[in-house]
Subunit: 339 residues, 2 copies
Amino acid sequence: MENSYSKSVMLSPDGGSVVILDQTLLPNEIKYLELKTEYEVWEAISSLRVRGAPAIGIVSAFGIYVLTKDMTYDFFDEFKRIKKYLSTSRPTAINLSWALERMERCLDDNKDEDIGSIKEKLRIEAEAIRMEDEETCRLIGEYALSLLKPGMGILTHCNAGRLATAGDGTALSPIYLGNSRGYSFRVYAGETRPLLQGARLTVWELMQGSVDVTLICDSAASSLMKKGSVDAVIVGCDRVAMNGDTANKTGTSALAILAAAYDIPFYVCCPTSTLDPDAETGADITIEERDGKEIYEQWFKAPMAPEGVKTYNPAFDITDSKYITAIITEKGIIYPPYD
Amino acid sequence: MENSYSKSVMLSPDGGSVVILDQTLLPNEIKYLELKTEYEVWEAISSLRVRGAPAIGIVSAFGIYVLTKDMTYDFFDEFKRIKKYLSTSRPTAINLSWALERMERCLDDNKDEDIGSIKEKLRIEAEAIRMEDEETCRLIGEYALSLLKPGMGILTHCNAGRLATAGDGTALSPIYLGNSRGYSFRVYAGETRPLLQGARLTVWELMQGSVDVTLICDSAASSLMKKGSVDAVIVGCDRVAMNGDTANKTGTSALAILAAAYDIPFYVCCPTSTLDPDAETGADITIEERDGKEIYEQWFKAPMAPEGVKTYNPAFDITDSKYITAIITEKGIIYPPYD
């Protein structure tokens, strides 16, 4: 870790707030927010001030600790109400509910202790989720790096790096790790319309980390592959079904199909907490549809399309497992068949 | 034709200027420009105030007429110098050089006549190029429509419509024609990053034409296809090689590969003037690379990525012929093998 900025998600020293780097302002402004109320935590996740499946899990864990730590009256009921509320902030990344479930299990396992002790265990559990994620990132980096060679060109989509996790990221972890060992990767970042996580976040954090990164429009991936610049596609993900179907930022499935067509390996990096035993296939994964304004209005000086235009704006899509060369977890590399 | 705006390219009544609708200002402003100088014509093409392969050809034909019509001294040499100059305004669309060659042939064929008569013939030739394009669009529409069924969902990319031609467009021609016969197509327009011709131009002109159109980010095409909304992909093109490889706006090749993966037909519409007998395959087609600022700066209130970011910004890409179901011209439908 050689972040020149501090962590993207932290617990304040007094435990009174969740501190996040507001990712909606990057790369133009580096601003930390202190989240202290239920709505602030919910809104920070919902409006993508903090995003990235692992980071969302960590914020929700810190959040439920912060929001309940001073409660005396109705502590158990309030905990469950807040857990339910926070879990509605975004539907697709499973890490959100996974982290909240884990916090609830910690509560249930210690329910007979005194309330001060329970709260301390919740704080430790939330910190454990954060620390384990950092280690998970490191291990994913090692496994993924074993599939790569020095000097490779790597295309990634959205942001699955330091901003999305407590460590060096999932998809970007092998890049930081490899470069620290002299691999000198060339990285290509798809801008990731409509919210530009690739352009605004991935390019920013890779440049901070002195990685050679080139920004492309998402639509240029095919010609980039055709001209031989891409040796591997590496992405993170938000949920993996039992047959290997993977939900990740819209555009990911296109990259997988293109990679197959150009005979380029396509790797998905994620912690095992992203595997969803309740989803048999991608069809069982809820896909978030977001406001069409994200396409034609937000970020822009003038409307990009006429008033009243209709939009189709899913925030994620499903990558069929047949296009995924391997799934890399902190437990090892999984190859097809996945089911 | 039921344009509620006038043509996108015209000769002024006195023949003293080429009048174009400035497409860089759409959809927020409808402004016509009178092009009177060599640089104005060159710049209008180069900076995409007028774009679309057929429209570029028409502007260059009108342009060379306007720029030489009052010349007496060195008329022939000046004509050839200006022809050479205008042909450098953009490299990929073949229609530009095709129209200029045709104007020069008209000059050469009539070189023994008096100069007034030659100039009149040049005016008639330029008008003929425009009128023939209008008819070409109509015929492409008829042929393409024979492949479509009422109620189909059609995905298109960039703008190959009224704004790009003298008629109803190439890719969009069957849509206008079908809808005039009650076909009620659902059209999906990829926004076409970085210059947003889909969002700004296609959505605008289709809404003006009362067509049901939905804007998507280019990266959402895969999920749109997966959910069954797309029955056909129809695009225009800028140059077709002899083996059927086709140059069109960046992102087109991705749509072709995706369409093949989802078993959706992928149609290219173009006039025969777009076929290039000198290009054996797509490798023989020059691909324009444009300023990276188009990705991270232009159109935006703030930079979208950190200062100094590197970019890869081709304006077009090559669609391998194996992904093209048919090529539709005003002469009929061509199926593979193309060579």
